[in-house]
């Protein structure tokens, strides 16, 4: 990654205190780092992807402390000192996939997979805001993230059916594909 190849001047380095997926991290960063650079380059959490880095594709999506989708490529890391974020790695609990992740598996809402972490974080943000999302909520929440392999049909199916995989009982019987 470029963040590793380039060596920013150390003079402007500062300690960033950031809670990621519940764990407090203290990292030395410079004004040149975005939140995405820190997540991938400094913390080694490679689930969050780097795509366009211009705010168009959404594959760098993580959650702020309100569970809202934000673009980690468009925000300077130092802006997040003292804050708490969630990445794709923070969705599962105790080795069990979150309902939305299980729904993506069951509904084959993945093709090459590169956009999938960003799409799942966007989908989870929809569910955080509207546990029973209407079609308009799903479209609005997915508008900022782009799958270039295929389309959003399977993804939308997964979001609509995520509730079936809640409750910690694993996939619902029959794994509906409506």
């Amino acid at each position: 990654m470029d963040a590793k190849r380039e060596t920013p001047p150390a003079g402007r380095s500062r300690v960033l205190r950031l809670v990621v997926n519940g764990d407090l991290h203290e990292v030395l960063v410079t004004p040149r780092h975005t939140l995405l650079d820190v997540i991938r380059g400094e913390l080694g959490l490679k689930g969050t992807k780097e795509g366009c880095t211009t705010g168009s594709c959404g594959v760098c999506t993580v959650h702020n402390d309100r569970g809202e989708a934000i673009l980690s490529c468009l925000t300077p890391a130092l802006e997040w000192d003292g804050e708490s974020i969630t990445t794709i790695e923070g969705l599962e609990s105790g080795g069990r996939l979150a309902p939305i992740q299980q729904a993506f598996v069951e509904h084959h809402a993945v093709q090459c997979g590169y956009c999938t972490p960003g799409v799942i974080m966007s989908a989870q943000a929809i569910l955080n805001a509207t546990p029973e999302p209407a079609e308009a909520d799903i479209n609005d929440g997915l508008a900022g993230v782009i799958c270039r392999c295929t389309g959003h049909i399977k993804v939308k199916e997964a979001v609509r059916n995520a509730w079936r995989y809640a409750g910690g009982a694993g996939p619902a019987p029959g794994g509906s594909h409506d």
Binding site: D2, A3, E6, P8, P9, R12, R14, T30, P31, R32, H33, T34, D37, T53, T54, G55, S56, G58, T61, N64, E68, A69, I70, L71, C73, L74, T75, P76, L78, E79, D81, S122, A125, N139, D140, G141, A143, G144, V145
Partner: protein, 323 residues
């Protein structure tokens, strides 16, 4: 690619922030970051310092003043404004807010940031390498415009969605600096220069947006290449008092077609006299060419822009008539 090197400054108060802006020539104001970080990544902005104002308490909050106007902090996120019940009285403004980019962006972006959104041009909103191959322009250092050959000024487009709606609503903005505070009507805030595209001085900070109360009919329309997230090919905000075809006062503002939002004064004078009948609407649309002046081919051909402006005007006036 890392951002260009700069000093990152995060003042704790407005006074501290204004002092930093006064002290640091070329310092760039950063709020949500969705425009500034984009432009820094492309090296269009290489400021010596960035002053982060997102968390300034003086830029937060939305409240109603005794006279019924809304006093909106420029640092309010678009998402928070959309969720605020006080905004329910301005459905056209809500439409414009929701039209901005995607939820992902609106969860970071602020109202002040959208009002100050840098102008866009397909010759400058590119990577540094792409621009190097093409050569510089007015915005990036020399006396040449690739978009409109021979143009003495930068003709980049003002592509923000909220300005037309807020201009139609008669909003004013507060600009604060160490020199004091001033109020500017939003319709006077924008300049026909893609580089210095607002009247905000480098040491000034847009702190509040005041939206006066109204019972008028207001609509906002945005035309894009696709549904979902996109910059506009064109927008219109239209406002009228009265009912049906009768209106004593009309405001029409076109956005995204030019370097500054266009307030259509000459056309509205005739519409007020004639009313919103079919013939008057036809006449208004026919008069649009003169009102708009020369257009560029940026992002869409000039001929398309003219046709789109006519279509938006017709749709907006018909919508007002039905309200």
């Amino acid at each position: 690619m890392l951002l260009p090197d700069h000093e990152f400054l995060k003042p704790a108060s407005l006074a501290e922030g204004l002092a930093l802006l006064a002290a640091g020539p070329g310092a760039r104001v950063l709020a949500g970051g969705t425009d500034v970080v984009f432009n820094m990544r492309g090296r269009l902005f290489t400021p010596p310092a960035v002053v982060s104002v997102r968390s300034l308490p003086e830029l937060q909050g939305l409240h109603e003043r005794p006279d019924g106007s809304l006093d909106i902090g420029a640092g309010c996120r678009l998402t928070d404004l959309l969720a605020d019940p006080l905004l329910a009285r301005h459905p056209a403004l809500r439409t414009a807010l929701r039209a901005v980019a995607s939820r992902h962006v609106r969860n970071l972006a602020t109202l002040g940031g959208n009002l100050c959104l840098d102008t866009r041009c397909w010759f400058t909103n590119q990577s540094e390498d792409w621009r190097a191959a093409r050569g510089p322009c007015l915005k990036t250092g020399i006396d040449a415009c690739h978009a409109l050959h021979g143009s003495p000024v930068c003709v980049a487009l003002n592509n923000a969605d909220t300005p037309p709606a807020l201009i139609a609503l008669g909003a004013t903005v507060t600009l604060a600096s160490v020199r004091g505070e001033r109020q500017v009507a939003l319709r006077d805030f924008y300049r026909d220069d893609g580089i210095d595209h607002t009247v905000r001085q480098p040491d000034e900070l847009l702190t509040r947006v005041i939206v006066p109360p109204t019972t008028d009919r207001v609509v906002f329309l945005k035309e894009t290449a696709r549904q979902g997230m996109d910059f506009a090919y064109g927008t219109i905000a239209a406002r009228a008092d009265g009912h049906g075809a009768r209106a004593g006062r009309i405001t029409l503002v076109l956005g995204s077609l030019t370097t500054a939002p266009v307030v259509l004064d000459a056309i509205t004078t005739r519409l007020v006299a004639d009313g919103l009948g079919d013939d008057a609407i036809d006449a208004a649309c026919a008069g649009l060419r003169a009102a708009l002046g020369p257009l560029t081919n940026l992002y869409s051909p000039a001929a398309y822009k003219r046709e789109l402006a006519r279509t938006l005007l017709r749709r907006a006036l018909l919508a007002l008539r039905e309200m």
